[in-house]
Structures are given as structure tokens and as C-alpha cells.
């Protein structure tokens, strides 16, 4: 966020880390300033110009003190306009998800450059050795500098295309493949960071439907965290809806409304908006007590049109089965013509459940065996084994 003026992320990070430390020391006593982000960035920017001015003064920067109430920005910072500062963060997000950077490094780069995470923490979340992650981050930052990747918010004409990788990278922070090795606390904290990034991004872009869609998707998924467990797998339809966070559901529904409001007439729904609507339909069970399976089927049909991935197609088969019975779902599963289907765990788990529901126990047993053999997550494996055992 501070890198735009100097194009030097490493320096900006140092300054930001300092500001964070300062904030952590100050806030507990003085209270949170009106605009915490603005405050942090302003402090960090002052810090940065200091380094550029004189390296020797680095250790003796006259950091401002918050006034007693902590309700206003510290006096020496009045000359900067905090409202302008978030724009810089937006520019940095676009730089981190620039098409010229390897897609795999975009999320880690955002975590480091925008949120100030250390390479070791990011490495833990991605189940990589810290040295490897640090090396990849350094390489990416050098590439930004050497290739001259600009710190700008792309023009309206190219914004939709350039926004997609930004959204993907923020989503990537939410949907890290956990490899079964990251501790649940790391997982939860990364999901919270993704939530913060997505909502901030949507607010800064103001009227981008897909940005609001992503914010809604992550918020609504987070609302179901209380029913998630590292030890036991509980399928979505069987989760206790009363335990979900009603505050996050309300917030997510608000984001989803914003997405719909700012979508231009006739513009197609985006992938994240549809996925958020699917989450919203599931979350509505908390209020209504029933699942609107017809609405879910329609939403999954829309998702397959926008994003015809193998996962989306298998999910559609499951949604159709929920609404119209197992035979209709199996028919859709059989119609999927993709060689990857044979080793796609969700396809086998879905097939097994639908065959069991249709009373075809022998086929169900075989499908469960295949699904189990492809499952490396132990709680999911246990659950599938229980389902298979019920067939007798």
C-alpha cells in the first residue's frame, strides 16, 4: 500500500510492521482510532519517508502519540488525508495479482505485502518450508520491481479482466488446501484474513458485483465455522443451523444484496455471486428450518454455466438429486464426460450416496469403497466408512 510511491515492497513492509507494533502497543490503552487502517498507513508512511531521508535516523523516529481519548488521529498526522490511503492498498492488491506473476504466489504476496504477515507464518498456512516460501516471495517482489509491474488500479475498460485474479487470490486465502497439516487455529485466522481482505476490496471498489459476491461468499461460509470440526466431518445438510453465526449471516446477506444492486441491468451473474447465493440458500435454513432445494438446483445450474468445473458439475448432480430424487442426479453424473472423473473423490462420494438412496446397495458399496480409497482426510474417511457400514 505504501509501495506505490517507491515501488519497493520490502521497505513498505518494514514500515508497516513498525506501525503494527506501534498500534499494538498504543491501542489497548488509548482505544482504537477512528480509522485504524488510515492511522496505521499514515504512521507507516511517515516511517518510510524517514528511512528514505536518512537511514541513521531510523531508530529514532519521532512517532506521534495518540491524544488521551484515542478518538482522533494523532496531531502530527493531520496533514495527510486518511481517506486517500485505502486507494494505495487497492493498487497494491492489483500489483500482487498481476497476470505477469505466478498465480501460486499471488495469495502469499498479498498476505505479506497487504496484511504484513511474515514469510514463516505464510509458509505454515501453505504447508511449505519457510525458506522455500521466503525465496518465492523474494523472487516475486524482485519480479515486480524488475519487470516494472505498476502499482495502479486498472482502467475501467480492463478492470473486469484484471479484477478476476485479484478476487481469485483473495479467495485463495480462504480456500487454502490445508494438506491436513495446518493447525485449526492457523486455518481460522487465515479465513478471517480472507474475510477482511474481501470486504475491504469490495468497499474500496464500491460497485463491483463480483467483489461484493466474494465478500458475501466468504462471510456466509465463515458463518458456519461453529459447526466445523477438525475431528468430525458433518455434511452441510446435517449441520446444526442454530449454531451458525446469525451476525455473519446478516452481514453476508447484506454483501450479497450490494452485489445485486450494483450489477448493471442484464449483466450476467458472476461465479462468486452465485456461490454466495448458494451459501445464502443453505444459511437461510437457520431462519426457515427448511432447505429450498429447488432454488439450490437453479443456482447450481447457473454456476455450471458460468464456471463449468468438474466440482461444479458434480455439485449440480447432488443438487438435482436433492430436488428431484437420486435417479435424476445419477443421470447427470453419468453424463459428465471428463477423464478426471474416475479419480475425483466428490464424484464417487456423491455417486455412493445417490445409489444408496436409490436402494442399489451393491453399487453403493463399490462406490463408497472407491470414494474411501481416494479420501486422505481422516474425518471424511470415517464418515464415509460409517455410511458404507449402514448398508450392511
Amino acid at each position: 500500500m505504501l509501495a506505490a510511491s517507491t515501488r519497493d515492497i520490502a521497505l513498505a513492509e518494514d514500515a508497516l510492521a513498525d506501525a503494527f507494533e506501534r498500534a499494538l502497543r498504543t491501542w489497548p490503552e488509548a482505544g482504537v482510532p477512528d480509522s485504524p487502517e488510515g492511522w496505521l498507513l499514515t504512521v507507516a508512511r511517515h516511517r518510510q519517508s524517514d528511512v528514505l531521508g536518512s537511514a541513521a535516523r531510523r531508530t529514532s523516529v519521532p512517532l506521534p502519540d495518540a491524544d488521551g481519548s484515542g478518538r482522533t488521529l494523532p496531531a502530527p498526522l493531520e496533514d495527510t488525508d486518511p481517506d486517500r490511503i485505502p486507494d494505495r492498498r487497492l493498487e497494491l492488491l492489483f500489483a500482487c495479482a498481476h497476470p505477469a506473476l505466478d498465480p501460486a504466489i499471488r495469495t502469499p504476496l498479498m498476505l505479506q505485502a497487504v496484511l504484513g504477515f511474515e514469510a514463516a507464518e505464510i509458509a505454515r498456512a501453505f504447508a511449505l518450508p519457510s525458506a522455500t516460501m521466503a525465496q518465492r516471495l523474494v523472487r516475486a517482489k524482485r519480479r515486480i520491481k524488475d519487470a516494472g509491474i505498476p502499482f495502479v488500479v486498472p482502467d475501467r475498460s480492463v478492470l473486469p479482466a484484471r479484477l478476476e485474479p485479484v478476487l481469485e487470490a483473495v479467495y485463495g486465502c480462504f480456500a487454502i488446501d490445508w494438506q491436513g497439516s495446518a493447525a485449526p487455529t492457523v486455518r481460522e485466522s487465515m479465513a478471517a484474513e480472507a474475510h477482511y481482505l474481501a470486504v475491504t476490496l469490495a468497499e474500496m471498489l464500491v460497485d463491483e458485483p463480483e467483489a461484493w459476491g466474494l465478500a458475501a461468499l466468504i462471510t456466509l461460509s465463515l458463518a458456519r465455522t461453529p459447526t466445523r470440526s477438525a475431528e468430525v466431518y458433518v455434511p452441510l445438510d446435517e449441520q446444526d443451523a442454530a449454531a451458525w453465526s446469525s451476525a455473519l449471516i446478516t452481514e453476508g446477506e447484506g454483501h450479497l444484496r450490494r452485489a445485486a444492486e450494483c450489477r448493471r441491468d442484464g449483466a450476467p451473474l458472476g461465479r462468486f455471486e452465485i456461490e454466495a447465493a448458494i451459501q445464502a440458500a443453505h444459511c437461510a435454513r437457520a431462519r426457515t428450518g427448511v432447505l429450498d432445494s429447488a432454488a439450490l438446483r437453479t443456482l447450481h445450474e447457473a454456476l455450471v454455466v458460468v464456471a463449468p468445473t468438474l466440482g461444479a458439475r458434480v455439485a449440480l448432480a447432488a443438487a438435482v438429486a436433492r430436488a428431484d430424487g437420486p435417479a435424476a442426479g445419477l443421470e447427470l453424473l453419468d453424463a459428465i464426460d471428463d477423464p478426471a472423473l474416475a479419480r475425483f473423490q466428490p464424484a464417487w462420494a456423491t455417486r455412493a450416496a445417490l445409489l444408496a438412496e436409490a436402494g442399489e446397495h451393491e453399487g453403493a458399496r463399490a462406490a463408497y469403497a472407491k470414494a474411501i480409497s481416494l479420501t486422505t482426510d481422516i474425518p471424511t474417511r470415517r464418515w464415509l466408512e460409517q455410511q458404507a457400514a449402514r448398508l450392511g
Partner: protein
């Protein structure tokens, strides 16, 4: 069917890896082994010492030679093996994809031709 997962990766010293990096790697392998065990597919798992501790023995040239160092001096070395018993290649690949070192090296998946039980070679 039995498969051996052969883990190849560039070797890193403790200095290069750092204490924390080493701890994270050990935790990843602990968790992986625990999952293989809990799934009931693990036959054996070995993580090897660095290839600099290898001694290579050969009589292929006619005379017996005992040499310091690995057979092939390449950037990536065999760092560990897991022998697993799973229904088919799809399942073996599912586990290979979850091996921690797939993130920084390569994992070869090889079906077993024959293995020893109670001193006797048996098929598969």
C-alpha cells in the same frame, strides 16, 4: 496393491532450513504419517539421512567397490519412502499428492512387483 512413494527433493541443511522450518517440516511429516496410519494404508515409512551419508556398494564393473556418496550426484536426492497398500493407482496418487515434499520436490509412485513376507517373496 502395494505402491512405494519415492520422495525426491533438493537437500537442505538445518542452517538453510532454520529451526522453525525444520520443525514445520517434521510436523507436516508427522501429520502425514498419522493420516496414512489412521487410514490403514501404511506399510512402512522412512525418511533418510542426507545423501552425503550414503555409501554406495557395487560390483557391476567386475570388482567390488565401496564408495563414499550417492550413486548419482544430482540436485534432487531420494529423501524418503512410504510403502502403502491401497486398492489402485488412483488411491496411490491421492496419497502422493498429499505428501508434504510434493510442495518442494517430486514424488514417484511405483507399484511393487514382489515383496518379502516371512523370508519368502510374494507377488504384488
Amino acid at each position: 496393491m502395494r505402491y512405494t512413494l519415492l520422495l525426491h527433493y533438493p537437500e537442505m541443511s538445518l542452517d538453510e532450513l532454520g529451526e522453525e522450518g525444520m520443525a514445520a517440516g517434521q510436523e507436516a511429516f508427522r501429520s502425514y504419517a498419522a493420516a496414512l496410519h489412521a487410514a490403514g494404508v501404511l506399510i512402512a515409512g522412512e525418511v533418510l539421512q542426507p545423501s552425503s551419508l550414503t555409501t554406495t556398494v557395487t560390483a557391476a564393473s567386475g570388482t567390488l567397490q565401496v564408495q563414499d556418496g550417492p550413486f548419482a550426484s544430482t540436485k534432487e536426492q531420494l529423501g524418503g519412502t512410504f510403502v502403502i497398500d491401497v486398492p489402485d493407482l488412483d488411491a496411490a496418487l491421492a496419497w502422493a499428492e498429499k505428501a508434504p515434499s510434493v510442495q518442494w520436490g517430486t514424488v514417484e509412485v511405483r507399484p511393487t512387483a514382489t515383496h518379502v513376507v516371512d523370508g519368502q517373496w510374494v507377488e504384488g
